[in-house]
């Protein structure tokens, strides 16, 4: 099955289709993680995007029932160098191709993904279209150009849960699978705002001793505070934080009242809620190998990241201080409120996929809640 990928700036790549047939559109980004495509596929932060995997061999480990970060696939297209239908892994139950088909995600393989990545690096992430029906380059480019820009899009509200729910599953273990800790051990009551939350964040919170209630993005602060939580968590999610004015307004109501921890989009929203600014990066960070320094300990952690926007720390002068720094591009990786028990990070301490170096941040959140009980 032939497939064509066209970018808004006119660059076109030809390849073969796999997964679902048809047309898919979205912002084309790349991810440099060499493992964990299943987690990438199920990460809600990829809503509205088509992901190019820079590593070339995909499908090798198939799909298993465990390695999911949400209950559906959010990205709209999957772009790889070579798809392997013959998977080999003791936990696998189906092929990547079947999984994409089942979930209606269009895949393209056999194209020069390195050329595509270099193009995105040099010209910036941009909209694109994959088609297995229309092979006319001009027509495809035109369609890609007609797509709305990611900047200014509130995608998070759309992927948030509809009503609050309680979460009790902890981190995965090779022998036991996902662990369900004794409820008595979950001593810290946390309300987690879902802007497209990855399940592993919830698992990390539970394993750190939190009793987690997940609430929709628009859940009123008053109701959350009425639950008398020990801390508030703001999750990751897709899109631009700026248009989410109501959410930001709602978030402000927690400031000074409860310890707060934010990740990725949650970190950016927090920046805005505290009166700062955010900006779109020319090309964000999408991978599992990015060095970050915790400025408190001067230690380097290798982190998983997936973001296209960033907090402008200068705009928060006097309110927040830089707590973590990205050592590759010196962008803001984490901040800490000068007076209040509030901190947040741009990267993904829950990893999945990625290294576990930053798991300690969940412990830090728990300590903070303990101190402010």
């Amino acid at each position: 099955m032939k497939a064509v990928l066209a970018l808004a700036d006119g660059r076109v790549f030809e390849g073969k289709g796999f997964g679902a047939a048809g047309e898919a559109t979205g912002e084309v980004v790349f991810n440099t993680a060499m493992t964990g495509y299943q987690e990438v596929l199920t990460d809600p932060s990829y809503k509205g995007q088509m992901v190019t995997m820079t590593y070339t061999q995909m499908g090798n480990t198939g799909i298993n029932p465990e390695d999911i970060e949400s209950n559906q696939l959010y990205l709209s297209g999957f772009i790889v160098k070579e798809y392997h239908d013959h998977y080999s892994n003791w936990r696998a139950t189906m092929s990547l191709d079947a999984y994409l088909k089942e979930n209606g995600v269009v895949g393209i393989q056999g194209l020069d993904t390195r050329a595509l990545t270099r193009h995105l690096r040099d010209h910036g992430a941009q909209n694109g279209i994959i088609s297995t029906v229309d092979f006319d380059h001009e027509s495809l480019v035109k369609k890609a150009r007609a797509l709305p820009s990611m900047a200014g899009l509130d995608l998070a509200t759309g992927v948030s849960c509809e009503k609050p729910y309680h979460w009790t599953e902890g981190l995965w273990d090779l022998e036991k699978g996902y662990v369900h800790p004794d409820p008595a051990a979950l001593k810290y009551k946390v309300v987690a705002y879902d802007f497209g939350i990855k399940l592993n964040i919830l698992r990390c919170l539970v394993s750190a001793g939190c009793d987690v209630t997940v609430v929709p993005a628009t859940f009123p602060a008053e109701q959350a505070l009425a639950m008398n939580p020990d801390g508030i968590f703001f999750s990751n999610g897709p899109g631009d934080p700026e248009p989410m004015t109501e959410v930001i307004e709602n978030m402000r109501k927690f400031v000074g009242k409860k310890p707060i921890f934010g990740i990725c989009l949650g970190h950016q929203l927090l920046g805005l809620a505290l009166g700062g600014k955010t900006m779109k990066l020319k090309f964000g960070n999408h991978g599992s190998n990015l060095p970050v320094m915790d400025l408190a300990t001067r230690k380097v952690e290798v982190t998983a990241q997936n973001h296209g926007f960033s907090v402008d720390i200068v705009s928060l002068a006097g309110v927040c201080e830089l707590a973590h720094e990205n050592l590759n591009d010196q962008t803001v990786e984490g901040m800490r409120h000068k007076d209040l028990p509030i901190f947040s990070v741009q990267h993904h301490p829950e990893a999945s996929p990625g290294p576990h170096d930053s798991h300690y941040l969940f412990g830090r959140f728990v300590e903070m809640m303990e101190r402010h009980r």
Binding site: N60, R114, N328, P355
Partner: protein
Amino acid sequence: MPKRTDIHKILIIGAGPIIIGQACEFDYSGTQACKALKEEGFEVVLLNSNPATIMTDPDFADRTYIEPVTPEALEKIIEKERPDAVLPTLGGQTALNTAVAVAESGVLEKYGVELIGAKLPAIKMAEDRTLFKLAMERIGLEVPRSGFAHNYVEAMEVVKVVGFPAIIRPSFTLGGTGGGIAYNMEEYEKMVMAGIEASPTDEVLVEESVIGWKEYELEVMRDTVDNVVIICSIENFDPMGVHTGDSITVAPAQTLTDKEYQILRDASLKIIREIGVDTGGSNIQFGVNPRDGRLVVIEMNPRVSRSSALASKATGFPIAKIAAKLAVGYTLDEIRNDITRETPASFEPTIDYVVTKVPRFTFEKFPAADATLTTQMKSVGEVMAIGRTFKESLQKAIRSLEIGSSGFESRLFDITNETRRALTDKENALLRDKLRTPNCDRLWYVADALRSGKEIDEIYGITGIDPWFLHNIRQIVEKEEELKQVRMSASCHGEECGHKNGEMRDILREAKQYGFSDKFLGRLWSMTEEEVRQLRLSLGIKPVFKRVDTCAAEFVAYTPYLYSTYEDECEADVTNREKVIILGGGPNRIGQGIEFDYCCVHGVFGLTKDGFETIMVNCNPETVSTDYDTSDRLYFEPLTYEDVLSIVDVEKPVGVIVQFGGQTPLKLAVALEKAGVPIIGTSPDSIDRAEDRERFQEMLHKLGLRQPENGIARSFEEAEKAADRIGYPVVVRPSYVLGGRAMEIVYGVEDLRRYMHTAVQASPEHPILIDKFLDAAIEIDVDAISDGTEVVIGGIMEHIEEAGIHSGDSACSLPPYSISSELAAEIARQTRLMALELKVRGLMNVQYAIRDDIIYILEVNPRASRTVPFVSKATGRPLAQLAARVQAGKSLKELGVTEEIVPSYFSVKEAVFPFVKFPGVDTLLGPEMKSTGEVMGIDDDFAMAFAKAQLGAGVKLPLAGRVFISVRDADKKHIVTPAKKLYDNGFELLATRGTAAYLQEKGITVKVVNKVIEGRPHIVDSIKNGEIAMVINTTQGAQAVADSFSIRRETLMQNIAYFTTVAGAKAAVDGILAMQQRRLDVKPLQDHLGQDKEMNTGE
């Protein structure tokens, strides 16, 4: 944390000679370390006995000690140099063991020297099996069930717990020496005792077999503030049970989900922290049960390893260089990534290609060796290939090996003409055997199993090779079938073939993306490689070149480290400078190793001085030449006609140099020149004139020079006739070989018949050469350099062993220690004559034999030889560098090279052998090369230089004790003098009846001991009982050789000094006397060179 300022002078320990399990990767790591520390302003002192290394070039350290890598020599150097610190983690197991020895004996403490990189407790914890096991238990990690044994009784107890099959791992040995897998009690008893003997601490670990489990390796780096990063994950194609050095390995790991990979990563971090490796790289090996993911830790190397070199080349992350900087206090985030320039080294490289390493074996050199692959490493080299997919990289790796394979040739089918068919019972049995028992051909048999229609599950069941890999090979085999169909439906090619052009283009392009070589396609289509190439080019199918950049294109790469693939975008970004391509030597093997890489690297140095852009092509991940900052541009590619031409097409160099990389590039020279490639230096025609027997004879005749009586034969009848005319004994060999492959001394017609059978197989296209064997002649090696008008002798080397022993296996001395100056002058004259006649531009090597003051020419090679690095070290004149400049147009006069440098001191080169790795193999030397590496000893007198070379080679020359002598009749008169010297200097002598009688007759007191066939107690009993300090044993004739085999083998196993030639024994005895008279002294190369007035005029 910035660089430490409390240390100024650092001693780096090198790895010594190339042996199995420790090859040129440690020159790569050591060279990087020297460069990095010098760059940081430290004074660098280096100890390494291996002259063929770049790191021992006088420019790379401030004080270079080419001395034995032993605790004694190290102590002397410490005493003399008083370094602040010793860095032991970059010179392999040898360096680590030597450092441990001086740390434990209190030498480091005595002189206030600090171990940096890894401290003693960390080294001990990683290396000592008990401590390691306990450490793993502390951090909650499993190791295979196991127990230790130090004797028979303990061994029997342990195996009860462990069960069969049981893995035996001797403690503190290198490359798993003495280890193995026992499947039953009989094997176990034998192996466990051998293992205890092989271990320096008389200890073996007997371990639960995890054979068939998946095997992974992670390369880990840690800095002083405990930042830890993983550089690379590696998955073994061959499952557990095959030493990782003998396994095909793939980077990154292919069949792990992120959850499973992170388990390995977390475990690696815990391990490096628990073991407490301060800074630098470590390699950790894991076994993973493919059924449930259960993880066991196999082992950890608390140092830079062979896998580190591979990981460095596979990712572009220079592990050794960074390790050196971390050792002096830097943290990972303070060090820049050279490739991206903007980002720090505190990240984890991510790659967008697949790397495959395939080991290279030389079992053909040791027919008596067991070729089964086990936990003891047997390969002598390796190749690495980069492709965008596993299939592409695997096929590129196969053709990089230079074993006559250009893809998945079949062992059972005629792939050109046969379509799929069922196998006969006999073929099936063979196939199953080849799949079940790991061996160096298994990869090809896997393809045949698939061709025969076997299912993946069945092959997986037999081999344990992960189905993912098998599926990829199946795709290759299926593609092959498809490609055959194309030919079958089209008798011609190109546009007229019935296929539309576009269709043919798609098919061929896909085949190239699968990694098929032009040559293999030619085999499928009955076309020549060149015809396929032309067809391919006419269809517009050319490779593009992508960059290795550590970051999967996330950042701009500033280093042109390139590999080919068949895709859209080319990143070669060719410059418009004048450029020269140097073709490297490919995988290490016996006969072609680090010496040639040394020459290639020097070629780069020389051409850089003359302003050329230098381009290196090579596929050996262990080497300095494949370091991305050695040359201006690096192409990590197979050295085949197709791959080299693709690079030439893109780069359009003004010259290509083929004379540095040994036989590998030389074999391509004629075809490349024919294809219009500008080969510079000595012309391929001149090379042919020296290689072609008949043309060479004509030349010698014209010059009035003499060679041994000889003949040429294309059949047995011709050979018999020629040998009769010349007279036995004769030396027979195929033409065009390096390392004396299949060369033998033949004493009679029966011998000759047997030889012709095997040799013709060894080299079908080429005739057999027959020479008179000059018994007891002195052999001389000469390296010279010429610019076409001037010839300067680089060095004249006199061999210690007589002619008949391969020059690569023979010890030699520079300058000569016994020939007259008249003879030396005559040799120089003859060398000049030939160089000019052959119009040599660059290097030339000549081998001479002298008997009764008559000079015979044995061989002329107008190219860089194995001895070039040794000569360069001994004289301080960088021959290869000068040769490259001459080839690119400079005259010797311009370079200031006018006269031979004859040093006032002696340099002795000694060869090092792999016999200990191959049970059942005899240690006798002959015309076929068997050594893997070499060492050098330097001293003001010959005897001491020889002794040092022996010590460097690991030969324990005794200063007292009992010496056993048993020599053939022809040698008896020659052994009297050395025997008397030994006796007069306090040694006791023991001899077999005949030798004893002869010596007693000459008035020397000798005790008689039984030969093995004479009944017990015999000599082997004495050796086993530790009563013998040295053995001198020469033999002739098949029966005598067989009778004395057990003596030599036992001597080897006991690590007792032994000599199998009288010449070697004589030199050793003089060396022993020298050592008795004065203590061993150490002196850096810089001082040796400096003391000579005739300083290096090349620079």
